[in-house]
Symmetry: C2
Subunit: 217 residues, 2 copies
DNA sequence: ATTCTTTTGCAACACTAGTTACATATTAAT
DNA sequence: ATTAATATGTAACTAGTGTTGCAAAAGAAT
């Protein structure tokens, strides 16, 4: 149990120590709970109310949108050190989540009680900068997503999707079925299979069961 | 000249008086410059560096994105009392604008020196809430834009575009050519003409030169 | 009044993406 | 080993959107 606490302190310092004030880091250590979450777990769903600000320390999270008919679309990813801007407002205003957050691998997430948000915004310049930076980064990423949907063809988006995943998870192997890829891109399985086949013919990937392997990034 | 100053105070109090602390409103009055801007003027362009935080007091602004090839896409609108979240970060970090802001009608815009941003974030709770709320509203709107592009067909998006414009400008007459509409929706003139014709046949609109008239909202 | 410019209409065609239906291959379960 | 479940391959067809090229209409400029 003591080891867990030491590991937590180590992790927080590594992830946030360089961007947040020392005093704030100490407060975070005392006011947070570290959670380890398995791969492919939905940690926030559309409509959920949040009691904690989540900060990803290790691993990666994908943020997606879902409409009434259950159609999905991948919006962006969150990596180590980042928080989810969309959930921040849920904390401040007690509104419901408009997005879904799913772990892409086993991840370590820091949970901070929502009342600290306003206190720290007043007290720490680095926290203000962190929160504002976070919002801005997510907005920029949302706009990149819009760019992709608007200006790119599906085959280009597919290749971007594969390389993004590879970079994020640090592996040229993407362990998804065609169906899962189709859901993230809001397309259909047959279309994705067809386009993957084209990428294979162009020698950009090789197709395996439950797995796509990129030749390079 | 005195009258201009009185009008400015009146405007600021009307637009911001109910959401911001009295003391902050006074600071805004003393630290801002009111600008009147004509219709269809580009007030911020992609790549611009900002020296002021703009707050729209009267009128309306459209925010759009442009890719390398010059293709456009309308992202969202800004109305009275709102600020542009995307330009906020330009202020804090001195980065370049990633969006274009264009007036949709004659508008009154308050310009606040960027250094006030950090000072007020520390000093005023209402300013923190205003800025965070602003970010969140824009993110929500970006996601609605994503929803529209991803889940709606072009004819639905076109009708939404027309009713959004009508609501925003408070008139059933939309003074745009088919070409202009096509640019906002990132489509082509011929396609928009075709879809407008369908809406006219369905008795939802009437088509005129340089003008579409909605039968109702 | 005539010419020029802008805007809109229209038809034919092309392309991308989505759908349906079925076959085949691979793995898991019994 | 046999069966069941899951994943992928393929073909034919459809729908939606974009492109090209030209004509007609409306308005502005001379």
């Amino acid at each position: 149990m003591m080891k867990m606490q030491e590991q937590k302190i180590e992790l927080i310092k590594n992830s946030l120590g360089y961007i947040l004030e020392e005093e704030l880091v100490a407060e975070i250590i005392n006011n947070s709970q570290l959670k380890e979450i398995e791969q492919d777990k939905v940690i926030v769903n559309v409509g959920d109310e949040l009691n904690n600000i989540p900060i990803v320390l290790e691993g990666s999270i994908k943020i997606s949108r879902e409409n009434e008919e259950g159609d999905e679309l991948l919006l962006y990813y969150i990596e180590g050190g980042d928080t989810c801007a969309m959930t921040l407002q849920c904390c401040v205003r007690h509104t419901k989540s408009e997005i879904r957050a799913t772990t892409m691998e086993k991840s370590l997430i820091l949970m901070i009680p929502i009342n600290m948000m306003e206190v720290w915004l007043h007290k720490y310049k680095s926290w203000r900068e962190y929160i504002l930076q976070s919002y801005h980064t997510r907005m920029t990423e949302l706009m990149e997503t819009i760019d992709a949907i608007t200006f790119m063809r599906l085959d280009e988006r597919l290749l971007k999707y594969l390389t993004d995943q590879a970079k994020l998870l640090g592996s040229l192997e993407i362990n998804h079925t065609h169906q899962q890829i189709a859901e993230d891109l809001h397309s259909s399985r047959v279309v994705i299979s067809r386009l993957l086949k084209q990428l294979e013919i162009k020698k950009i990937i090789t197709i395996h069961r439950n797995k796509i392997i990129l030749k390079s990034i």
